[in-house]
Amino acid sequence: MIDIAQAWHALRQVPDPEIPVLSITDLGIVREVRANGGAIDVVVTPTYSGCPATAEIHRSIEEALLKAGATRVRIDVRLAPAWTTDWITEEAKVRLRAYGVAAPVRFMPRALECPRCASRDTERLSEFGATPCKAIWRCRACREPFEYFKPL
């Protein structure tokens, strides 16, 4: 039998497939968990409409909860309120930077801080990176390109 706390614990171990340093709970996409006996209902809010990781995330959620002892897993998708990068926890933003990805800044700054050398002498190369949620930037000081998790 699995209770709500154990369900949340299992969900905190589910990494985002694109940015494995973050879990799906760090991203704030798990909105609600309900336990009914051993059956678990999870409410998730998708990030980008075009996020190719959505299906994979649903599979991982089901797998993690079944492994933690759930008898049945139901995933409900909730669109409103729309997901926002504001839901990413502060602690997760620190880990994101350590991973080499600049964390989202609410109001688009002229220059971001380079996650490698902390210089602000940076420029945007492209609005989109390897996934819709990221842009590609470059640091002029250390000459390294880096990714920026865009605010949404």
């Binding site: 409409s49 409103a80 309120p81 729309a82 989109f128 819709p132 949404l152």
Partner: protein, 258 residues
């Protein structure tokens, strides 16, 4: 009698949603043709990501269509098993990409319209449509910014890039009239609070688009009498070919999944 009226309303709502869903689906399919063919790696990725968002928006809308339709069809059946004449996308989005200039300019013109549409629809009386619009709005903002950047860069660029942008604008502009052409489905959607009349968005669209075209040193063509009618299911010769490719797998292997 009562059920007939509500059935009629559901059919009108399905038609209204299909115009948006099909437009984002077909444009997503077109833009995805750049995958592996972008002029530079960054743009290849940017266009592929944009296409994914557009197809994702189409999926959300088609999911809603399926519920209103109530005939047990799923989103794949809507996307892959309808014939050309059943598609309700505006003609502009089915035209071939031709070159990068035309691709980004079309994205700019159409996504600027979508931006205004999502803004208006996020106040829809239909809670699910309002949620889809509020979510899509945030993504479309990035698409518009990306396309506007390139419109400026290529329009106010070299002789060659400017020529290509101006040619693209001259060719695409006549197709923008369809966006704002009045229709009974629009009126019904606006009256019921389900949607908004597309024609009411024209001034807002122009306020966003015209200054960028001017900054890009492009001449805005004068409006003509031409009116495309993709919204009514009357398409150009290009949609059939696009569908032949997009629908091939489900037509050849019905019900097949990955």
């Amino acid at each position: 009698m009562k059920s007939t009226t509500s059935d009629g309303a559901a059919i009108a709502q399905v038609d209204y949603l299909l115009r948006i869903a099909d437009s984002t689906l077909i444009l997503g399919q077109r833009v995805s043709e750049w995958c592996g063919h972008g002029p530079i790696l960054e743009e290849d990725i940017a266009l592929a990501n944009t296409a994914l968002d557009m197809i994702g928006q189409a999926r959300l809308l088609l999911g809603h269509v399926c519920k209103l339709d109530g005939r047990g069809r799923d989103e794949d059946q809507f996307a892959f098993l309808r014939a050309e004449g059943e598609f309700r996308n505006v003609t502009m989005v089915e035209l071939p990409n031709y070159d990068f200039a035309r691709t980004v300019l079309r994205n700019f013109l159409f996504c600027s319209f979508l931006l205004r549409l999502w803004q208006a629809l996020s106040a829809s009386r239909d809670a699910e449509l309002a949620a889809i619009a509020a979510k899509s709005l945030k993504e479309t903002r990035y698409h518009v910014r990306h396309a506007a950047d390139w419109t400026l860069r290529l329009g106010d660029g070299t002789d060659e890039s400017r020529l290509r942008m101006q040619t693209a604008l001259d060719d695409l502009w006549p197709y923008t009239a369809e966006l704002f052409a009045p229709s009974t489905e629009d009126d019904a959607a606006a009256d019921s609070g389900f949607g908004v009349a597309w024609s009411s968005l024209q001034a807002l669209w122009e306020a966003g688009v015209l200054p960028v075209l001017a900054d890009a040193t492009l001449r805005s063509p004068v409006p003509g009498a031409f009116l495309s009618r993709g919204k009514n299911g009357i398409h150009s010769e290009h949609l059939g070919r696009l569908l032949a490719e997009m629908q091939f797998l489900q037509r050849a292997y019905p019900g097949n999944t990955w």
